[in-house]
């Protein structure tokens, strides 16, 4: 599947296109198919996201997993600071990145 990601313009936070808006959680990401460029252009023009781009990902029972490690780091947070990730009470969640 192809999903859309970018950064929140004001905060810089990593965000994912959930079909209706932008979510902090990669599991909310939806397959944008061939619409990535159209959505990216309109959302960037509306200043709801900064520098959006499409990436490859897969979805299984555990949720959405970006294909590249860089986007998995973006999705969860720095592997060396579990306390600053989106799952601060679950350091084992970092295994998902690698």
């Amino acid at each position: 599947m192809k999903i859309l990601t970018g950064n929140d313009l004001k905060s810089g936070a990593v965000v994912w296109w959930d079909g209706a808006g932008w979510s902090l959680h990669v599991n909310d990401a939806v397959d944008v198919g061939d619409d990535a460029d159209t959505i990216a252009a309109s959302e960037e023009a509306a200043r709801r996201v900064n520098v959006p781009y499409a990436i490859e990902a897969t979805r299984d029972d555990n949720g959405v997993r970006p294909a590249h490690i860089k986007d998995r780091v973006r999705a969860l947070g720095p592997t060396v600071r579990p306390d600053l990730t989106l799952k601060p009470t679950q350091p084992e969640a970092l295994d998902w990145i690698v």
């Binding site: 900064n50 490690i69 780091v73 947070g77 060396v80």
Partner: protein
């Protein structure tokens, strides 16, 4: 240290308001990201993996207690309670919000700091010897010259759009503690046969994807012509440096392709032309700057201290440097606790270091390019009290220049350019060697890790260097040996095929075992490598 005059302060304050307006227009949609990006980069604001990242300039790594307190307050107020000291003596914050960046810069300006020219194709923060003004082996304090160059290069209209970024280092000792010859321009303040002080110029060094050691192009430039000569070097680069290919745009490529002899000839021609115009700053300007770097009021005192506590003795042995006043030393605060993140400091630790600087070091601190902090002027009689407080705060690691004192770039944990993580490797290697008890036995061993070919972790200059690469989406690490950033400068050579994370940690232990088995009396790892060559290490790694 240097104090802003009204002109400096007004310039920085004006820039803050200018950026505040630019950010406001971006947030209001009046300018696009393509229009805004070069503006934010000129103010040190990047967009990294997780958020905006701000790089704050610390001129030649020198700052006072109030500035360190302000950096701590910024970490608490605008970031997530910590900052990252970098390999160019700066500090970076990883979680900045665009909507707050203007306020942050205004807070910085209140303590005479800014983030200007910490990005972009301009002359970056001037770096220097972290023991400047304190080291027993220096000829003079290099910082007045670094400050002169800082003022000359700040907002210099001719050099704001160079072919590529440009880094200058200034030292004034035979011992190179600033990786001087791995800079675009390295300047060593020297004395000639007539006893006059001047500058020796090395041009065209650098790391990155094409590492080069800068050749010397002039052995002596009179001090009042220092800036003019630097300007001539920049002019030739600005005229002929490649702008069509960013990977070939650094001055090192120009000097290499043009040839050092021809490059030098053109610089000398330009220099002669400029001298005829009388554009060099007057010597009086250097004399105006020098008092800002005058020695503090040193007091004679004990020249030794009680070393009966072995932990304290080890820290003194490893983490202090000889001072020009024999009742003092420079003390290094390690930001490399075993298993820690190299260069990271919490706001609480920054406040403590600022307090300790005020109490024990005439209110002065330095940032090392090796991502540690220096208290430059500590009375020997105060060393035990200082160490006790550092120990209590987890800042007393006795590991300067050991295999636990690892340089690591932010890597794939933070950096959008990185291909692999650097920090976890540093953590695991320091844990491995601390647990094995080999750290002391290995002596001086500089290990440097970069998460991509841009080499922010200085892996080319490591006695042992590690480069993280992307191998079909999986992190892989190349090992290299034999580099040095010091006066015995050398570029490391790759051992062979790469390793996965666990494999490269084992490989580091393997090469240290080869060293321990082969070394002769007094040899560092680097000395043994140079004597026996790569072959024994490769055989141990791959056969």
């Amino acid at each position: 240290m240097y104090k802003y005059d009204n002109y400096d302060q007004q310039m920085v304050d004006t820039r803050v308001e200018e950026f505040r307006d630019q950010a406001k227009r971006r947030l209001e949609g009046k300018i696009t990201e393509d229009q805004f990006k070069p503006l934010r980069l000129m103010n040190g604001l990047y967009l990294q993996l997780h958020a905006y990242m701000l790089r704050v300039a610390i001129p030649y790594g020198t700052l006072n207690g109030a500035q360190m307190h302000a950096l701590a307050d910024i970490a608490d107020k605008y970031d997530r309670g910590y900052g990252h000291f970098t390999t160019r003596q700066n500090i970076q914050y990883n979680w900045i919000k665009l909507e707050e960046a203007g306020d942050l810069l205004a807070d910085l300006a209140k303590v005479e700091m800014h983030a200007i020219q910490t990005s972009g194709n301009c002359i970056r923060n001037i770096s220097s010897d972290h023991f400047a003004g304190a080291a027993r082996d220096e000829l003079v304090d290099p910082r007045p010259y670094a400050e002169l160059l800082r003022q000359w290069s700040s907002f210099h209209p001719e050099f704001m759009y160079l072919p590529r970024k440009f880094k200058i280092a200034v030292i004034a000792a035979e011992t190179d503690r600033a990786a001087m010859r791995l800079h675009d321009i390295g300047i060593q303040i020297v004395k000639n046969d007539s006893g006059e002080i001047g500058a020796s110029f090395y041009v065209g060094g650098g790391m990155g994807r094409t590492p080069m050691i800068a050749p010397q192009i002039r052995d002596f430039v009179p001090l009042d012509q220092l800036v003019t000569y630097a300007e001539a070097c920049l002019r030739v680069y600005n005229r002929y440096g490649r702008r069509d290919n960013k990977y070939k745009a650094r001055i090192k490529i120009l000097v290499h392709e043009m040839g050092a002899e021809e490059y030098t000839r053109q610089v000398e021609e330009e220099f002669a032309h400029m001298l005829g115009q009388g554009v060099e700053p007057p010597l009086a300007e250097i004399e105006r700057l020098r008092p800002y770097f005058a020695d503090p009021a040193f007091v004679d005192g004990p020249k030794t201290c009680d070393h009966s506590d072995p932990d304290f003795a080890l820290w003194v042995d490893r983490n202090t440097n000889a001072h020009k006043h024999d009742s003092y030393v420079s003390a290094v605060i390690s930001l490399k606790p075993v298993g820690g993140i190299p260069g990271d400091a919490t706001a609480e630790q920054m406040h403590l270091m600022a307090d300790l600087a005020k109490e024990y070091s005439f209110d002065e601190l330095r940032v090392m390019h090796t991502q540690n902090i220096v208290l430059p002027h500590v009375a020997i009689s105060d060393l035990h009290a200082l160490w006790t407080k550092l120990e209590a705060a987890g800042l007393g690691s006795p590991n300067l220049d050991t295999i636990e004192d690892i340089i690591a770039c932010p890597g794939l944990d933070y950096c959008s350019l990185a291909n692999a993580r650097s920090i976890p490797l540093a953590q695991k290697i320091s844990e491995r060697f601390a647990a094995s008890g080999k750290t002391g036995e290995l002596g001086q061993l500089k290990l440097k890790i970069s998460g991509c070919i841009n080499a922010c972790g200085h892996h080319h200059a490591g006695h042992i260097g590690i480069l993280g690469v992307d191998k079909k989406g999986v992190e892989n690490y190349q090992l290299s040996l034999g580099g040095s950033e010091a006066e015995d400068v050398a570029l490391a050579k790759i051992t062979g095929r790469g390793f996965d994370e666990a494999g490269v940690i084992n490989a580091v232990e393997t090469v240290t075992d080869v060293y321990l088995g082969a070394r002769e009396d007094g040899e560092r790892f680097l000395d043994t490598y140079r004597r026996i060559g790569m072959t024994p290490f490769k055989e141990a790694l791959y056969d």
